[in-house]
């Protein structure tokens, strides 16, 4: 087609790709003869069914599109017209108020149309005749009539769904229940009379439901071609079968089976338990009876012993409780430091933790005070010496001291396994500058030892290396050590320090820290095995041990100022 037209031009028509950018021209940008010569007749897919494609009016409209009058383009169709003489307002009385926002609505037709039975002209005639005989106050309203009819229809549909086939008609007695439940008291007297009307109507309709309804699928074979049967069910769509889905469902089935089996076993066990209970009861009874006999015999024979053989003793039970008590103390002791929330294990422990908290509080206040004092003391201090050693920024009075316990305590490998050589000759990688090498030792407030063992390394005059230790206190002080572990995260000046919210006793954090590899500066920080050794050993053990060992005479060694 197009290629034929182009053939004259002796250029081969390239295939037109969808993403080819094409030039856009107006017809008047070509000369007219040229444009019409380019016209080709090709078959264009219209999407209309083939048989209708050549329908007269459609063809006329498609052709008429090329310059015909408006009429030619229109396809004649039976038009709608306004219903003559219609009282629209009577039929549609409700006035609508447009909401300000977009409507959101999910009620169904059934929910918005009230009673589903709508009386017919026939019903109307009946009801009028029926009411005619009655006095004004006892007439049946149309609403009541419809409600009663609806109940009859619903009950019939419910109880004898195949009424049209087998001709079953529910008797009025059969309807009474539903009437009682669904119709208000006042309308009950009408039910019987309306029932007669209903029965006749049903009969006339071949015992079909009275309201015209759509034909639904009944017999798949027969209904298939029936154009009145509509809205058939669609078969559930098949999910694609894949190996993953297969195994998935196998897993599901397995689990289901297991769960069902567990349920079964549970019931089985409960059954066994009940059987055992019955046995026990029987035994108890026979024991009782035997004892009764024993008693009788004793009385008869005049044997006077204590009556122990006549009562049940349960020594095994007492043992059980003993066992429990024995088991608890070590456990609670272990847990003691971890109970930061003060949840009591026993009465004793409540008091202990309270005490500790109290102590800790006073301690904290004291520290706070001293820190404050120290800062005041340092205020406005200008060091005019050359290259002054100024305080390491952001460090409090504890500057330079690193806590020993926290890092040592949970190491994967106990420090004792580290050879002394490694302390004496640190590997080159450990030679990097110490982050806290030069500290500013606050002059006055080198106060009482802290609960936590800590040390620092500093370089003194003449390049001497010093290791300062502190916190190697008595047993009582060490008990606080765990508490004071908290200060590790405390900074006195809180201007720009990020606040890390954490529970210091949360084992999660401890466990995580335990996985952190041995930091290299720790090696370099304790080059003197004779000092670091015992300290490490102490730190490597549990708090309980810690206490024991320090109590055995480790005295804090104050560093020279």
């Amino acid at each position: 087609m197009r290629s034929q037209a182009a053939a004259g031009r002796a250029t081969r028509v390239k295939k037109l790709a969808k993403n080819t950018a094409q030039q856009v021209l107006r017809e008047d940008q070509l000369d007219s003869a040229e444009y019409s010569s380019l016209q080709t007749q090709s078959n264009i897919e219209t999407g209309v069914e083939k048989s209708e494609e050549k329908e007269y009016h459609l063809q006329a409209a498609l052709k008429g599109g090329s310059g015909g009058s408006k009429d030619a383009e229109e396809i004649p169709a039976p038009p709608a017209e306004e219903t003559p003489g219609l009282d629209y307002d009577a039929l549609y009385p409700l006035v609508f108020h447009k909401p300000a926002t977009y409507i959101r609505f999910s009620q169904t037709v059934e929910e918005t149309t009230g009673c589903q039975y709508n009386m017919t002209s026939e019903d109307d005639t009946f009801l009028k005749a029926y009411n005619h005989k009655k006095s004004a106050g006892t007439r049946c309203s149309e609403d009541d009539f419809e409600k009663i009819m609806e109940v009859f229809e619903d009950t019939a549909a419910d109880q004898v769904p195949y009424a049209s086939l087998d001709g079953t008609v529910i008797s009025f007695d059969g309807m009474k229940m539903s009437i009682k439940q669904q119709i208000h008291e006042k309308a009950h007297p009408f039910a019987k009379d309306i029932y007669e009307h209903w029965r006749i109507c049903r009969q006339n309709a071949g015992n079909h439901p009275l309201q015209p309804s759509l034909k639904v699928e009944k017999n798949i074979e027969k209904d298939d071609g029936d154009p009145y049967v509509c809205f058939r069910r669609r078969d559930a769509r098949q999910t694609r079968k894949t190996r993953a889905r297969d195994t998935q469902s196998v897993e599901k089935l397995k689990r289901l089976r297991k769960e069902l089996d567990e349920g079964r076993q549970l019931i089985d066990m409960a059954f066994q338990r009940e059987l055992t209970k019955r046995e026990l009861l029987k035994c108890d009874k026979s024991v009782f009876e035997q004892r009764a006999k024993v008693k009788e015999t004793k009385v008869k024979l005049g044997i006077k012993t204590d009556d122990e053989d006549l009562i049940n003793q349960r020594p095994q039970k007492r043992k059980m409780t003993d066992f429990g008590q024995l088991q608890r103390p070590p456990g609670s002791q272990l847990r003691l430091p971890g109970r930061s929330d003060g949840r009591p294990l026993d009465a004793d422990l409540i008091m202990l933790s309270d005490l500790m908290a109290q102590k800790e509080n006073t301690l904290q206040i004291e520290i706070e005070e001293k820190a404050q004092q120290h800062r005041k003391w340092n205020m406005g201090h200008v060091d005019l010496t050359r290259e002054p050693l100024s305080p390491v920024h952001g460090q409090g009075f504890e500057a330079g001291f690193r806590p020993a316990t926290a890092q040592y305590q949970y190491l994967m490998t106990p420090p004792s396994s580290v050879t002394s050589e490694s302390f004496d000759q640190p590997s080159p990688s450990l030679e990097k500058p110490e982050p806290c090498a030069l500290g500013y030792n606050s002059p006055s407030e080198e106060e009482e030892p802290r609960g936590q063992p800590a040390y620092r390394r500093r370089i003194g005059r003449g390049g001497r290396l010093w290791i300062d230790r502190r916190g190697m206190s008595s047993a009582a002080k060490l008990a606080e050590a765990t508490v004071s572990d908290r200060w590790k995260y405390d900074q006195d000046d809180d201007d720009e320090q990020p606040v890390y919210e954490m529970d210091p006793y949360d084992t999660k954090a401890l466990r995580f820290r335990a996985t952190i590899p041995y930091p290299p500066h720790l090696f370099s920080q304790r080059p003197r095995p004779e000092q670091a050794g015992p300290l490490a050993r102490v730190a490597g053990n549990s708090p309980a041990h810690n206490r024991a060992i320090t109590a055995a005479g480790q005295q804090p060694q104050q560093a020279p100022p």
Partner: protein
């Protein structure tokens, strides 16, 4: 209308010789093809049904190359008996059974199933020689109007054409009628079978269906809907009892249907709906759009489908409405939101359709509403980031509406490109309009815009389309054109979980 529509283009395709001969009003049978007057001309018409009413015998005629919506009941005097009539195939099995025309069957049409002639119905008419008949075995489901007794009624003329309307019942046993409507021509069996077709429907979720499946005879005469009387175009499977009514009533808001006027009035007193039962997605000062889930609002959507089936030939109601969403356009007044038109859309379309069925109700047709519906469907596709296309087959009116919309939109962009001297590809056009590239291509070709000029493919905008465009622009100055404003759409593409996508109940 212009060119005489006689048998100019319908003759001569048939392979089997036809039996021609003279007929009278009494001998004319179903399946015959006769010359019948239509719009002042004689046209070939197939007799689909026969009935006797007070004023005489009437024949239901389908006119050659006219859409089915123009089928009508024709009195004897419009049939030209001076010309030969083509008789239906003689090897028709049940031929002998029924020679006298109107045998009234009293039973009201439930015996359809019993009598299913095993005859394969083939095309009987030359005009239909090219009609694809997908159904391997055509069932004789034609009986449009089962009827008690040939009782007589006053015939009200359809306004469109002054023929007696179809209000009167057909006294014939239509089972037999259909059975006899067997063809004169043995066409080779079609490649696809009925089973395949239904299978396609089942898995494909299509809403359209071959027309041969449903009755070819209009079964509802007149419908009172809102303020209007509607005259249906096609068959719709409302309860069979309604086919005997002169007038059927449909509630404008819940779309429920009644044959009895008292019932309808009673319903109207109880019905509280005043807008489609779903969420409003769009509102401007002219129209509103609602989204209705076929699964949630089964009754309403079924009612909508029944209503629209009266005006859509290729719509099928074979399966239920669950897998569809319905986008309903309404106009607003003090009584509520009145249904103007709608389109349905598959929740998940395998073929990338963004519209399944689309309809503007007859009382609102030719007022630009169809364009708004189409535009809205593409706006939704834009939000979804998809290219959409309406499901095929299109109806004649559908094709015209879509062509018009596509052309207008393409011309706008193309003129812009021309002005800026920019190049544009089919893909870019498709992306900008959320149309499929196939639709862009077919529109360009249909409007003779795609040309091979010199050494390149080029798009040439014909002067006629430019003039039309300018006329529209001019008109818009005085009377602004109604457009969908995408900014007013409050919509997120609905997401369906695996369980809600299982369309079975």
């Amino acid at each position: 209308m212009a060119g005489g529509g006689d048998n100019k283009d319908s003759k001569g395709e048939s392979q089997v010789p036809k039996i021609n001969g003279r007929a009278t009003a009494d001998t004319l049978k179903i399946g015959c093809i006769a010359m019948v007057q239509k719009d002042g001309q004689h046209r070939r018409a197939e007799i689909l049904s026969i009935r006797d009413i007070k004023s005489g015998r009437q024949f239901y005629c389908n006119f050659d190359n006219f859409n089915k919506r123009l089928d009508e009941w024709v009195p004897v005097n419009r049939i030209d008996f001076s010309q030969d009539v083509e008789w239906p195939s003689p090897e028709k099995p049940k031929e002998a059974k029924k020679s006298s025309a109107p045998v009234a069957k009293k039973t009201i049409g439930q015996k359809k199933g019993q009598k299913r002639p095993a005859v394969t119905r083939e095309v009987s008419v030359a005009s239909e020689a090219s009609t694809p008949r997908p159904w391997g075995d055509f069932d004789d489901s034609q009986k449009g109007t089962p009827d008690p007794e040939g009782e007589e009624k006053l015939t009200t003329p359809l306004d469109l054409d002054n023929t007696p309307g179809a209000e009167d019942d057909d006294p014939m046993d239509l089972d037999e009628v259909a059975a006899r409507a067997v063809s004169a021509k043995a066409e080779p069996p079609e490649a696809f079978s009925r089973q395949e077709e239904i299978e396609k429907l089942r898995v494909g979720g299509s809403m359209t269906q071959n027309q041969a499946e449903i009755s070819r005879i209009r079964n509802i005469t007149k419908v009172q809907f809102g303020k209007y009387d509607l005259f249906p175009w096609y068959f719709s499977p409302y309860p069979e009892a309604f086919t005997q009514e002169d007038l059927m009533y449909i509630c404008e808001f819940c779309l429920c249907y009644w044959g009895d006027v008292k019932s309808f009035q009673r319903h109207r007193q109880k019905c509280t709906l005043q807008h489609p039962p779903g969420n409003e997605l769009y509102r401007d000062d002219y129209v509103s759009f609602f989204e209705i889930d076929g699964r949630r609002q089964r009754t309403w959507c079924r009612n909508l489908c029944l209503l629209s089936k009266m005006f859509l030939d290729h719509k099928t109601l074979y399966y239920d409405v669950d897998p569809f969403l319905f986008y309903v356009m309404t106009s607003r007044d003090e009584k509520g939101y009145h249904l103007v038109g709608y389109f349905s859309k598959e929740k998940e379309s395998v073929d990338g359709y963004n519209v399944a069925c689309i309809l503007t109700l007859p009382q609102y047709q030719r007022r630009g509403y169809g364009r708004l519906l189409i535009q809205f469907s593409y706006e939704l596709s834009k939000i979804e980031n998809k290219l959409g296309s309406p499901e095929k087959p299109l109806s004649d009116l559908g094709l015209l509406s879509y062509r018009q919309y596509w052309t207008e939109r393409l011309i706008e962009i193309l003129l812009e490109c021309n002005e800026k001297d920019e190049k544009i590809s089919i893909e870019m056009l498709a992306q900008r309009l959320a149309m499929t590239t196939a639709d862009v291509e077919s529109t360009l070709q249909a409007k003779h815009m795609q040309v091979w000029h010199k050494t390149d493919h080029k798009i040439v905008i014909p002067m006629k389309l430019i003039k039309e465009h300018e006329a529209r622009v001019e008109k818009a100055k005085t009377k602004p054109k109604r457009e969908i404003d995408p900014d007013l759409i409050q919509w997120k593409p609905p997401v369906f979980t695996a369980s809600t996508r299982t369309w079975g109940w």
